[in-house]
């Protein structure tokens, strides 16, 4: 508290010094439009005057200055933001009123602006009010780009009394620092859960290996967080870590909340290099046949080192009279999510219905760096193709696939032929003249089957079949003697194995 009073009074002294100080001269080429103090943390009871703001113009130009209060909120980046809607500005002006609100500042001059704290919003014990000091250079000539300078002073105003100061981490992100390769950026998010402005203290960030070994440690600067707000603190780490798995551990005290900790594991693919998603869409093509949908094709590839996704927007326009119709014939959006590194997806879409004419197809997608890419393809609607045209086109467009399908077809034919042959043989076997005792029926047996009889070769079997065909069925086995080449002895040999 003692230090706070000393600081306050020192600031007053500085301000007082400026009031009573010497003239600033006529300004210089490197001069600026400035204010002091830039920040106030005031505990008191309104109405009353705050330490006035000293406004200086050390430039060589003249400014038209406007001063107005604004109600502050805090973005997650830590920036204070405000609305300039008249109703909000009026509300801010009711709390804190600057005077004068408008004035001219000649080169090399300074003046004070008083700030009267009138009140607080009903029921509130604190208010967070900014004061914008806007300086418009009064210049001759008409530059394309006119410039206005604004300075935002921050004022934390609160009634005396007890306040609860507490905070916690609500997460931590790890990023590759933008435009600074090989620098890792850690963003612990701090939420002020108390009812007073405060900031993290006794801060540290520790990087541990996957085995829990401490590899690196640094502190990080704390800054104010408004009650109820969440703010990311930027911690850039230049210490080089190799590829591998790590854990980042951020620690802080926030008011009465001691030793708050947040841990985030992360993986590096190279020295201080996080896995980075990347996605490309290429080989965009479009065709269309009259009366059928437009056929759009492309290749979506995940080219980074982390899973990537995108949304592809497809549109088909009919081109008429030198320009394409404003209204697309058809549109479609396709979302790709979590594509693993190195994977490729074929986009194959049929869209709308094509009439005779010329068409333009557009493919738009946003890459992982938020850049929007547009691919275009044009086509003339063609007449519908015959079956053989389609077959030929299929072979042309899908050569490898077609050869594979053909080979598969041939293989299936071979398997089918083999199965049919097997089935036929089985059928023949079932219809074979052999009865259950193994006898060969000489009236029904084939040439092959007849050769199962003892002493009957292909020639003899052939003669048996010829005889059977010529004279009809045998009445008994003994009638085999009528077949050329079959004597009584040969008939006797087969008698025990043949039947009719």
């Amino acid at each position: 508290m003692f230090a706070r009073i000393a600081l306050s009074l020192s600031a007053l002294a500085i301000a007082g010094g400026l009031v009573a100080g010497p003239a600033l001269g006529q300004g210089d080429a490197n001069g600026q439009f400035g204010i002091t103090p830039a920040r106030r943390d005031v505990v008191g009871r309104p109405p009353g005057n705050l330490v006035p703001t000293r406004v200086t113009n050390t430039t060589k130009g003249q400014f038209a200055v406007t001063v107005f209060p604004v109600l502050l909120t805090q973005a997650v980046t830590g920036d204070f933001v405000f609305s300039e809607k008249p109703s909000v500005l009026n509300a801010a002006n009711n709390i804190l009123t600057p005077s004068p609100a408008k004035f001219l500042m000649a080169p090399g001059t300074s003046r004070t602006v008083s700030l009267r704290w009138n009140t607080l919003p009903a029921g509130a014990r604190a208010a967070y009010v900014g004061v914008v000091f806007q300086a418009v250079p009064l210049i001759h000539g008409k530059p394309n780009l006119r410039v206005t300078n604004r300075l935002l002073s921050i004022n934390f105003l609160r009634l005396p009394g007890r306040y609860r100061s507490s905070g916690r981490f609500s997460g931590m992100q790890v990023l590759q620092a933008p435009q600074q390769p090989r620098i890792l950026r850690f963003l612990p998010r701090v939420k002020n859960t108390g009812d007073v402005v405060d900031s993290p203290k006794r801060t540290s960030l520790v990087i541990e290996s996957a085995a829990g070994k401490h590899l690196y440690r640094q502190s990080w600067p704390g800054d104010v967080v408004l009650p109820g707000a969440s703010r990311d603190f930027v911690i850039d780490v230049k210490h080089v870590l190799g590829a591998g798995d790590y854990e980042a551990v951020a620690v802080m005290d926030f008011g009465a909340s001691r030793h708050q900790v947040v841990k985030t594991p992360f993986h590096l693919t190279g020295p201080n290099t996080l896995p980075s998603p990347a996605i490309t869409v290429a080989n965009f093509g479009a065709t269309g046949e009259i009366g059928k949908p437009a056929h759009l094709t492309a290749s979506v590839r995940s080219t980074g080192t982390a899973p990537a996704g995108t949304e592809v927007s497809l549109s088909v326009f009919r081109i008429t009279g030198g320009g394409s119709d404003n209204v697309p014939v058809a549109t479609r959006r396709i979302r790709y999510a979590g594509l693993a590194p190195g994977t490729r997806r074929a986009l194959d879409v049929r869209l709308g219905v094509v009439r005779a004419g010329h068409y333009r197809a557009l493919l738009r997608y946003r890459d992982t760096t938020d850049v929007v890419h547009t691919l275009a393809a044009e086509f003339d609607a063609t007449k519908q193709k015959s079956f053989w045209d389609r077959v030929k086109r299929f072979f042309r467009d899908h050569g490898v696939l077609a050869v594979g399908l053909l080979a598969l077809f041939l293989l299936l034919l071979i398997i089918l032929w083999f199965l049919r042959r097997q089935r036929r043989l089985e059928r023949e076997l079932r219809a074979s003249p052999s009865d259950s005792s193994g006898l060969v029926n000489i009236n029904t047996a084939t040439i092959t089957e007849l050769q199962a009889l003892p002493g009957v070769g292909p020639k003899a079997a052939e003669r048996i079949v010829e005889h059977r065909d010529e004279f009809g069925a045998f009445g008994s086995v003994d009638e085999l003697a009528k077949v050329s080449g079959f004597g009584p002895r040969r008939v006797a040999d087969v008698r025990g194995r043949a039947t009719v």
């Binding site: 009073i5 002294a13 600026q32 920040r39 394309n144 604004r150 002073s153």
Partner: protein, 175 residues
């Protein structure tokens, strides 16, 4: 603590200059004390003029200097277009019959800095709302000069007749 007390006494003595001056007024309101910190200052120049390629089919570029002071190590600089074009250059009210009332593309702004701790954001397309162009979390600004880069891409189909002046107002906010 040993040095703080004399400092505070000195500061108190110096501060008496203000009440003394203010006592001239009959109804002096109560002076509310507290912690006051820092100085903010900025000079973004008097503007910039696109001198070349400011025509259909061209990419007009220009640079400027922005001097800034911030005694807080955590600061941010934002830019926006406070005019009617919301980022797009607008044709003058007179002398622009037959010309497009504003340029198709928004003006791009980026900042570069020789200071190590300054994080220049990627180029922004100016709009009606504040967008960060540079920031720092542990880098004081002591009248440091930052370079502002402006660029506008003008399509070939843009109607810009000779004599028609286009302009816009870029507002820089330092906090």
């Amino acid at each position: 603590m040993k040095f703080r007390l004399p400092l505070a006494v000195l500061a108190t003595a110096a501060a008496l200059a203000i009440p003394a001056g203010s006592a001239m007024a009959a109804n002096t309101p109560e002076q509310l004390s507290g912690v006051t910190l820092g100085t903010l200052a900025i000079a973004a120049g008097t503007g910039a003029v696109f001198t070349s390629n400011f025509a259909p089919g061209g990419v007009a570029t220009q640079t400027g200097a922005l001097t800034a002071t911030d005694t807080s190590p955590s600061w941010s600089l934002k830019a926006r277009d406070a005019g009617t074009g919301a980022g797009h250059m607008v044709a003058a009210a007179t002398g622009c019959t037959g010309s497009d009332s504003q340029l198709t593309n928004a003006t791009q702004v980026s900042i570069t800095s020789p200071l190590g701790g300054v994080t220049p954001d990627a180029a922004i397309s100016l709009s009606g709302t504040d967008q960060p162009v540079a920031s720092a979390t542990s880098q004081l600004l002591a009248a440091n000069v930052l370079v502002t880069h402006y660029s506008v891409t003008i399509p070939t189909a843009q109607q810009m007749l000779t004599g028609c002046a286009y302009s816009q107002n870029v507002t820089y906010t330092l906090q």
